[in-house]
Amino acid sequence: MLSEERRTEQVSLGSRASARLAGSDIRDEFGLETLDMNMGPQHPAMHGLLRLILELDGETVVRCDPVMGYLHRSKEKISENRMYPAVVPITDRIDYMNNIAMEYGYCLAVEKLLDVEITPRADAIRALMNEFGRIMSHIPSVGFLMLELGAFTPILYAFRERERIQSIFEAVTGARMMFHYIRIGGVKADLPEGMPEKMWEYIEGLESRFDNDFVDLIEGNEIFRARTRGVGKMTPEKALEMGLTGVPLRCTGVPFDVRKHYPYGWYKNLDFDVVTDAAGDVEGSYRCRIGEVRQSIRMIKQILENLPEGEVMADMGRRLRPREGDGIGRVESARGEYAVHVVSDGSDTPYRVHYRTPCTVNMQLLQEIVPGHYLPDIMPIMGLIDPVSGAWDK
């Protein structure tokens, strides 16, 4: 418990509302006052459960205060009370659009503490599934961006691709969403027979469908350009200051990708580019996502071309007791740098697990750049960050 004097003043409603409650006059010299608006938590464009306390001057946002915690499931506390392998399905539920990267980060962290060698085939399959996971997350992100701009059709085209990738995941992992596929020491099972050929076939089809149906529908559209160009504009300095990672950072022109600069697993052997865009606005983030899907397709092809043979699980004891110390697993999830910090005290259960989810950090952006924009611009800015409710709330 904190004693009263150590607790900073808790302002839950914001300065303006508190001022009104305190009875002071908040009108300007023309006798006008701004409008308070509570957007969410139940709001179709809030990517889940997010509440924005807005102060509006007409349609212009004066103040934006995000309130989170409506989907807080205390993953960190649960993780402290489970054995090491049993935490993996918990991590699945963090970012439910890109689960496979969440498992990957945690397993990397524990493997650092266990000092196990991962077989090449397991590494390659992990990277393969991770890239499928990225496509599965990026295409609907762009679809959601369009949905929030008012175009309903792209999201259904996006989900057509997501469903098909989910079918691939179902064949490989046995689940469509909560995979629990990457395990500590390897992966759950080898690819089923004939799966690499099917994946190849799908990827070839995806390339043409992606260009012809999806990108064509969006890119040439005048209204899309008018709504996204210059919206959410930020400088690279600002982005670095805010600690952004992933697409929001890369769309300002800073080339930082964990896969390239802090390589893990099979990514050391792959040839790919870090997609950046100098625009630093919503349109730039759209182009980054499209470019990253193309890079993922390229990586999947490389992996499938020379998939190593061998076992997919390292030889470990049944009961895992990592050495004392801390292990950090850092991966590039579809939303940015995702890091898991596991602190072990040598027992069966982690002493402390900290998940650094990119969404939480990237969402600080809302406070900073939304004021000054129009009310409908909040939605494309949310599309720029592309947060997932489960990931920012943990």
Partner: protein, 335 residues
């Protein structure tokens, strides 16, 4: 003929009013169904296909469901304004159908100021919108209503300006006269000499009917339905009916003014009293384009909407107005 009694004044008026109400309510149902099917095929889905043959009875099921739903009102709403708003939106959209010529001799009221009547009635629609937004006492509704009022008032201007060319060419404010002036093949229709005016009218009409990309009063991704966020049950259905009726109405007026109304495209295709077929066909095609636009385009922002209205549509229609006037003055033999 004993049926002449139906043409006597009070009975004729009541009958026509009943016919219009029947028509508009059914149109709303048919357009809902069409919208759902069109959107489904654009989305690579099937759409409603369970109720009746190929899902054709779905509108009936919808209406039945909406009738049985409770009408909720926010506890602090201004209840009379709240309940009157859907009616204030629906009636203007329905009443304009009184002056639309469906076929030769099939117009309920051949007003000599039909175009003015149309403009006046569509303007009243904005009133219902403001009532709905104000009455439901929600900041989302209020924002939606304010957007709607601004949008409908500013798009009224290009809408009227784009009509002037047709009025000048036909020399009449009566819709029947306008249709008759376009007789004799599709090259006599006004969309050819008045093409820029037609484009302006179409865009302004989209805005008047509050369809995407101009559905800012609803803006379901930012203000979640806008002025109708608090409505449910039959009041909501009435607002929906008004929206679909005004979409059909804008299409019908566009067809009447620019596509020759019930006039067949070639004279040998003249069906006599059955020329309503041509009217229906053209209107359906226009309604389809409305839906096509609806499911392909994102929404504009409020400032961009105002820019488009005042900086592009108004000057464009004014320029073409002068071009038309100049042409009529210099080449009187053609007109």
């Amino acid at each position: 003929m004993s049926l002449d009694i139906l043409n006597q004044e009070p009975i004729r008026f009541l009958l026509s009013f009943g016919v219009v109400l029947f028509l508009v309510l059914n149109l709303a149902a048919i357009f809902t169904m069409a919208e759902r099917k069109v959107s489904a095929y654009i989305h690579l889905r099937f759409g409603p296909n369970r109720v009746g043959p190929r899902g054709l009875l779905q509108p009936a099921a919808d209406v039945f469901k909406l009738f049985t739903k409770e009408n909720l009102a926010p506890s602090r709403a201004d209840i009379w304004v709240f309940l009157a708003a859907p009616i204030a939106m629906f009636l203007p959209a329905a009443l304009v159908w009184l002056v639309v010529p469906f076929a030769p001799n099939a117009v309920i009221a051949d007003l000599n100021v039909a175009i003015v009547f149309f403009i006046a009635m569509t303007s009243i629609g904005a009133l219902g919108l403001i009532m709905a937004g104000y009455g439901s006492r929600s900041s989302f509704s209020l924002l939606g209503a304010l957007r709607g009022a601004a949008q409908m008032i500013s798009y009224e201007v290009p809408l009227i300006l784009s009509l002037l060319g047709v009025i000048m060419l036909s020399g009449s404010l009566s819709l029947v006269d306008v249709v008759n002036a376009q007789a004799g093949g599709f090259w006599h229709w006004y969309f050819l000499p008045q093409l820029p005016m037609f484009v302006v009218f179409y865009i302004a009409g989209l805005a008047e009917a509050r369809r995407v990309p101009f559905d800012l009063p609803e803006g379901e991704s930012e203000i979640v339905g806008g002025f109708m966020v608090e409505y449910s049950g039959m009041t909501w259905a009435l607002i929906q009916a008004a929206e679909f009726a005004s979409m059909g109405l804008i299409s019908a007026i566009t067809v009447t003014l620019f596509f020759g109304g019930w006039q067949p495209p070639f004279e040998f295709l003249d069906l006599g009293n059955f020329n309503w077929f041509w009217f229906g066909l053209k209107t359906s095609i226009l309604v389809f384009t409305f839906q096509w636009v609806r499911w392909s385009l994102p929404r504009l922002r409020m400032d961009q909407l105002m820019d488009l209205g005042w900086k592009i549509l108004v000057p464009a229609s004014l320029i073409w107005l002068f071009v038309t006037a100049g042409a009529m003055l210099l080449l009187p033999s053609v007109f």
